[in-house]
C-alpha cells in the first residue's frame, strides 16, 4: 500500500514537472507582450492590475460646452484604435485590445495611484475626471491649446488570450520555412536508418554468414564513438565531395564558373550524417527485438516456401512494428531537436527550427510570448508524433516481457 502511494506520488511529481513548463510555455505564447512581461503565467486566469500610460486627446478634440472648454473621450477605445491602426499599417495581425476597469489613476505615468475612478484631479489647469469604464472628461475655463497629456492608469485587466503571437510567427515566414526544413531533415533521417537497421538486424539475427559476430561486435563498438569526433572529418569529406562533383561536372561541360560550386552542407548530407550516427543504436535495439522472435515462426515460413526477403517483409517487419516505432520515435525526437549536427553539417541558408529559434532569441529578446509561440510550434510536432505512436511505444518497451500470440 505504502509503495503504491509512493509510486503514485512519484508519478504525480513527474506529471507536474512535465506539465508546468509545458503549460507555462503554452499560456505565455497566447498572451500579450505587456501581460507576459509583467505577470506570471500562473496568474493568467485571474484579473490582474496592470499599470498603463495613456495619452489623452489634445486641442484638436476640444469643444465648447456652455461656458467650458471640454475634451471628452475614452482612454481604452482611443488606445485600441491607435494600436490597431499601427498594426494594420505594419501589416501585422490584430493586437490585443486593452480592456477592464480603471482602478486608480494619476496625472503622469509615474504617479498612477493618486485618484480613484470618478474622482476629479487637476491637470494643466483643467479638471480631469476619469470613470471606471475609461470615459474621461477634461474641462477648462479657457481654451486649451496644447496636445494631449500622458496619464498613468492602473487597470484591473481580465484574463485575455489570443493567437496573435502564432499569427506573427507564421506571418514572418521564417518559422514556417524552418518548420518545413525541419520536416525535410527529420522524416528521411528517421525512415532511412530505421529501414536499414531493420534489414541489418534481420541479417544479424537470422542469416548465417562468415564474420557475422565480428561485424555485429564492430557495430556495437560504434555505439560509444562520440558524435563530436566525427564532425570535422565528415565535413571535410562533404567539402571534398562537393569539390570533386563540381570539377567533374565542369570537365563534362555541364556547367561553367560559379555554377560549378556545389554546396558541401546540404539536406542530404544531414540525412547521411543522422543515418550514420543513428545506425549503431538502431541495429543494436532492433537486433535484440528481432532475434527474440520465435525461431519456429521463421522455420515455419521457410517450410511454407518463403525466401529471406519474403520472411522479412511479410513476417519480421509487421511483427517488429513496436520496436521499429519506438526506435523511430527516439530517432525522430533526436533529429527534430538536434541543433549541433544541423549547425555544423546542415545547409547555411535553409535553417532548421532549433537554429531558427536560437536566432530569434537574439532578435526578440524582450518578446517572450513570441519566442514561446515559436518554441511551442517546434514542441508540438514531436508531441503529436509521440502521442500517435504511443501505443506502439509502450508495447515496444514491454516487448518480450509477456508471451502469447
Amino acid at each position: 500500500m505504502a509503495r503504491r502511494i509512493i509510486a503514485s506520488l512519484l508519478l504525480l511529481l513527474l506529471v507536474f514537472v512535465w506539465v508546468v513548463p509545458f503549460a507555462g510555455l503554452l499560456i505565455t505564447s497566447a498572451r500579450s507582450t505587456k501581460h507576459a512581461n509583467e505577470t506570471g503565467f500562473w496568474t493568467a486566469f485571474q484579473t490582474n492590475e496592470i499599470g498603463y500610460s495613456f495619452k489623452t486627446k489634445g486641442k484638436e478634440a476640444i469643444e465648447r460646452i456652455g461656458d467650458d472648454w471640454v475634451i471628452k473621450g475614452n482612454i481604452f477605445d482611443e488606445r485600441n484604435a491607435a494600436d490597431q491602426h499601427l498594426a494594420t499599417q505594419n501589416n501585422e495581425p490584430r493586437t490585443f485590445d486593452i480592456m477592464g476597469r480603471v482602478s486608480r489613476f494619476g496625472s503622469g505615468a509615474a504617479n498612477p495611484d493618486v485618484a480613484a475612478p470618478g474622482d476629479t484631479i487637476t491637470i494643466r489647469d483643467g479638471q480631469f475626471t476619469l470613470q471606471e469604464n475609461g470615459d474621461y472628461v477634461w474641462a477648462f475655463a479657457s481654451e486649451y491649446t496644447k496636445s494631449g497629456k500622458t496619464i498613468g492608469v492602473r487597470v484591473a485587466h481580465p484574463p485575455q488570450f489570443g493567437l496573435r503571437n502564432y499569427k506573427r510567427a507564421f506571418a514572418d515566414g521564417r518559422i514556417p520555412n524552418a518548420l518545413i526544413n525541419s520536416f525535410i531533415v527529420t522524416i528521411p533521417a528517421t525512415i532511412i536508418p530505421v529501414l536499414i537497421a531493420a534489414f541489418a538486424a534481420y541479417a544479424f539475427s537470422w542469416l548465417q554468414f562468415p564474420g557475422r559476430d565480428l561485424l555485429l561486435g564492430i557495430v556495437i563498438a560504434l555505439l560509444v564513438v562520440p558524435l563530436q569526433l566525427a564532425f570535422i572529418p565528415v565535413l571535410s569529406i562533404y567539402a571534398n565531395l562537393a569539390d570533386w562533383a563540381g570539377d567533374l561536372s565542369a570537365s563534362l561541360g555541364w556547367c561553367s564558373g560559379q555554377e560549378c560550386d556545389y554546396p558541401a552542407k546540404t539536406f542530404s548530407g544531414l540525412w547521411m550524417a543522422h543515418t550514420a550516427f543513428g545506425l549503431p543504436l538502431a541495429i543494436f535495439l532492433l537486433r535484440n527485438y528481432i532475434a527474440g522472435l520465435p525461431r519456429e515462426l521463421m522455420e515455419s515460413a521457410r517450410l511454407d516456401g518463403a525466401s529471406h526477403l519474403q520472411i522479412f517483409t511479410k513476417l519480421v517487419l509487421p511483427l517488429s512494428m513496436p520496436a521499429l516505432a519506438s526506435y523511430g520515435i527516439f530517432q525522430f525526437l533526436w533529429v527534430w531537436n538536434d541543433l549541433l549536427v544541423a549547425l555544423i553539417l546542415g545547409p547555411t541558408s535553409d535553417l532548421v527550427l532549433p537554429i531558427e529559434i536560437q536566432k530569434q532569441i537574439g532578435t526578440f529578446k524582450s518578446e517572450l510570448e513570441r519566442l514561446n509561440a515559436s518554441a511551442f510550434i517546434s514542441m508540438i510536432v514531436p508531441l503529436i508524433v509521440f502521442l500517435s505512436m504511443q501505443k506502439y511505444f509502450v508495447r515496444g518497451l514491454l516487448a518480450g516481457s509477456v508471451k502469447g500470440g
Partner: protein, 338 residues
C-alpha cells in the same frame, strides 16, 4: 515403395555427435511415431527430415529422390510445430493460405483449399480471426490446417500436443487419428515423449535414446517383446519392474535380468511366488490401485491391482506371473534373451 528412407544418418554439432547411424524405412501411408526421453534426438531427426537441420552424413530419400540438399519447402513435407508457430498478425485464413500465396497460387484456389481444410478441422467460423482470439486447441488445429492446405506427401508433427491441457490432449489426439484415417495415403511422422500418444496413434513406433534407434516396431511388438531393458521400461505405464536374479525368490534364471510388467504380477502363496516384497505405499486410482513394494534385497517394484486391495501397509506379499509375461535380458548387453 518406401515413402521415406533414412540411410546411416549422422548429425554432428561441432564435436558432439548427436545422431548415430540412424537407418529407417517408412512406408507410404504409415503413421510413424518417434518416441524417446528428452534429449534423445527425436526432434533433431524430424528437423533433418524437414530440412531445417543439415544432415551431417548419410542419405535421406523421400519417395525415390535424394533430399539431403533440397530446401525445406521443396521436399513435399509440411510440419506442425509444438508452439503452433502461427503468424500472429495474420488471420486464420491467411495463416493457412500463406504457403500457397508464396507459391503464387491463384486467389480463388487458395480460398477453396483453405475452405476445404477449415471444413475438415471445423475452423470455418474462425477463418477471419487472429490467432490470439483462439483457444489452444483451435490454434493447434489451425497449425494442422496450414499443413493440410499444402497437400504434402509427408506430414511432420513435432510434439503437437504438449502445450495442451490433459483433456484437450485426449480429444486432439483422437482428431489426429481421424485425420490420418481420412488421408490413408499420406505418410505421417510424429514426435512425442509421451508413450501413451505413441501407443495410441502409431502404426510403427521408433524408440530413440541418445541419438540411436533402440527398436522399431508396432506398439504391441514393443509392449510384448521389448528388444532391451530401456524399451521395456520406456513403453508401458507404470514402467516395467526389473529384477536381478538375487531379488527373486526362485533361482530358475541365473545370470539374467528379469523384467515383468506391474499388470502381470498376481498375488499368490509364498510357495509359488517368484518375488516377494513388503507393501510400502498404495495409490488408489479408482479403476485400479498401484502398490509399491520392496523386496528384502531392497529392490522396489510396482504391482497393478484391480480395485479392492485390502492389505495393510507393512504386509509381506507374494507374487508370480505367467512365464510368457516374463522378459529376460542379458545383464551385460541389456538385450532380450527369450
Amino acid at each position: 515403395m518406401s515413402a521415406l528412407t533414412l540411410q546411416n544418418i549422422d548429425k554432428v554439432y561441432g564435436k558432439t555427435q548427436v545422431m548415430h547411424d540412424v537407418s529407417l524405412d517408412i512406408e507410404q501411408g504409415e503413421f510413424v511415431v518417434f518416441v524417446g526421453p528428452s534429449g534423445c534426438g527425436k526432434s533433431t531427426l524430424l528437423r533433418m527430415i524437414a530440412g531445417l537441420e543439415d544432415i551431417s552424413a548419410g542419405t535421406l530419400f523421400i519417395g525415390d529422390k535424394k533430399m539431403n540438399n533440397i530446401p525445406a519447402s521443396k521436399r513435399g513435407i509440411a510440419m506442425v510445430f509444438q508452439s503452433y508457430a502461427l503468424y500472429p498478425h495474420m488471420s486464420v485464413a491467411d495463416n493457412m493460405g500463406f504457403s500457397l500465396s508464396i507459391a503464387k497460387t491463384p486467389k480463388q484456389e487458395i480460398k477453396q483449399r483453405v475452405a476445404a481444410a477449415a471444413e475438415i478441422l471445423q475452423l470455418t467460423p474462425y477463418l477471419n480471426r487472429l490467432p490470439k482470439a483462439l483457444s489452444g486447441g483451435q490454434r493447434q488445429r489451425v497449425a494442422i490446417g496450414r499443413a493440410i492446405v499444402r497437400e504434402p506427401d509427408v506430414f511432420l508433427f513435432d510434439e503437437p500436443l504438449s502445450n495442451l491441457d490433459a483433456e484437450l490432449r485426449v480429444s486432439t489426439r483422437r482428431e489426429i487419428a481421424n485425420l490420418k484415417a481420412s488421408m490413408p495415403d499420406t505418410t505421417m511422422i510424429y514426435v512425442t515423449h509421451d508413450q501413451v500418444e505413441a501407443m495410441t496413434l502409431a502404426d510403427k513406433i521408433v524408440v530413440l535414446r541418445d541419438g540411436r534407434v533402440e527398436q522399431v516396431g508396432t506398439p504391441l511388438d514393443l509392449y510384448d517383446r521389448p528388444r532391451n531393458i530401456f524399451v521395456g521400461q520406456f513403453i508401458g505405464s507404470p514402467k516395467m519392474n526389473i529384477f536381478e536374479t538375487t531379488d527373486l525368490t526362485v533361482q530358475h534364471w541365473p545370470h539374467h535380468v528379469t523384467g515383468v510388467r506391474p499388470e502381470h504380477l498376481r498375488l499368490t502363496t509364498p510357495k509359488n511366488a517368484i518375488v516377494s516384497g513388503k507393501l510400502e505405499f498404495i495409490e488408489k486410482l479408482g479403476e485400479y490401485s498401484l502398490a509399491y513394494l520392496r523386496t528384502e534385497t531392497g529392490r522396489e517394484f510396482t504391482v497393478k491391482f484391480e480395485r479392492g486391495l485390502t492389505h495393510t501397509l507393512g504386509n509381506q506379499l507374494h507374487f508370480d506371473a505367467d512365464h510368457d509375461n516374463l522378459h529376460h535380458f542379458d545383464p551385460k548387453t541389456q538385450l532380450r534373451i527369450n
